[in-house]
């Protein structure tokens, strides 16, 4: 009986914590997933799975931070890549961007991102948009910080070339 009450209390606490996490990170995680997968449906699925896993983790009384969420989301996206060898880019997703923001520049950036490889998009998103440091990204992806710095440098150079061509 006491165990049941304790379990119910833990579930409520985990759910409250999850709602708080979603308030803070759901948009960023969804955009990260879209940045990697370029497909709104799959990005939505992966984001859902990430937060369901976060809930299970919280139920066990374990702590969660932004890096944990990004790592789980990224691994889920990699599963999606393996399952569907080639994920078709979803150009309609740009409809979700508010009209007053949809400038030529942002469209050009989106097109350049389409052309980059997922690892390049990943590292650019995590560094520039999510604001992680290279060592933190290395810890998330399970590689050394020096490897991330090289990857970031290559991604920047490719973006620069493609953006120059787009412009």
């Amino acid at each position: 009986m006491q165990e049941d009450q304790h379990a119910a209390g833990a579930a409520v606490s985990a759910e409250n914590h999850l709602v708080h996490l979603m308030d803070e990170h759901e948009r960023a995680i969804y955009n990260f997933m879209f940045g990697l997968l370029r497909d709104t449906d799959r990005a939505l699925d992966c984001t859902q799975d990430t937060f369901v896993r976060a809930y299970e983790h919280l139920r066990k009384g374990k702590a969660i931070n932004a890096a944990w969420l990004y790592t789980v989301a990224r691994n889920r996206a990699m599963d999606e890549f393996r399952r569907n060898k080639r994920v078709q880019p979803d150009l309609d997703a740009l409809e979700g961007v508010p009209v007053h923001h949809k400038t030529d520049e942002s469209l050009a950036v989106q097109q350049v991102l389409e052309c980059l490889s997922p690892p390049d998009r990943e590292v650019l998103y995590l560094f520039d948009v999510a604001g992680f440091k290279t060592d933190e990204i290395g810890a998330m992806l399970g590689v050394r910080g020096t490897a991330i710095r090289q990857r970031l440098s290559r991604a920047r150079e490719r973006f620069r070339l493609l953006y120059g061509a787009e412009a």
């Binding site: 006491q2 165990e3 049941d4 379990a7 579930a11 759910e15 999850l18 709602v19 979603m22 759901e26 948009r27 960023a28 969804y30 955009n31 879209f34 709104t40 939505l44 984001t47 859902q48 937060f51 369901v52 809930y55 139920r59 997703a93 979700g96 961007v97 508010p98 923001h101 949809k102 520049e105 942002s106 950036v109 989106q110 650019l124 998103y125 560094f127 520039d128 948009v129 440091k133 290279t134 710095r149 090289q150 970031l152 440098s153 991604a155 920047r156 150079e157 973006f159 620069r160 953006y163 120059g164």
Partner: protein, 167 residues
């Protein structure tokens, strides 16, 4: 070329450089127009990515996550936790029973060394190892502490009383 590559790597992650690295980079940029151009391009790129309008999360995301959480079967409480209230008194009773059995068995079982000692022990010799029955009777009847006894047997009453009496 390697030197430029190293500075390009630094430019790619300029926002996380240490003050010392930033100073070295600036010193290099002053004398290198090619890297200055790269620095300007990377800075523009960073601003573009930072200002990229994020996609709005679908309104169904949170509801879907919460539905999945509520629909998922609650993790089963492990049997040893569920029955912990019953198991504790049972375990205590079993321990007590074991202790009782051990105590009873211990009082009946004679240790091997003690068994050898008993088997090899010489039986007491009457009148030598132990005073014989008649001597004991005389001891009890003679009233060694009485003055009449002292007068009869002298002061060496102990010798008198423990002298074996021939049967």
């Amino acid at each position: 070329v390697n030197r430029h590559r190293r500075f390009r790597e630094m430019l790619a992650r300029r926002i996380e450089l240490t003050p010392a690295d930033e100073q070295r980079l600036r010193a290099h940029l002053e004398g290198c127009p090619e890297c200055r151009e790269t620095a300007a391009a990377y800075e523009h790129q960073w601003k573009l990515l930072r200002s990229l309008p994020p996609l709005e999360t679908p309104p169904t995301l949170r509801a879907s996550v919460l539905n999945r959480i509520h629909a998922a079967p609650q993790p089963a409480v492990r049997w040893y936790r569920r029955r912990s209230s019953l198991m504790a008194p049972l375990a205590a009773a079993a321990l007590l029973a074991l202790a009782g059995i051990a105590w009873v068995a211990g009082s009946r079982v004679i240790a091997p060394s003690r068994r050898i000692q008993l088997a090899t022990r010489r039986p007491p010799r009457p009148g030598i190892d132990l005073p014989n029955e008649r001597a004991l009777r005389r001891l009890l009847l003679c009233g060694a502490s009485r003055p009449s006894h002292q007068a009869q047997h002298g002061s060496r009453q102990r010798r008198c009383c423990f002298t074996p009496v021939p049967p």
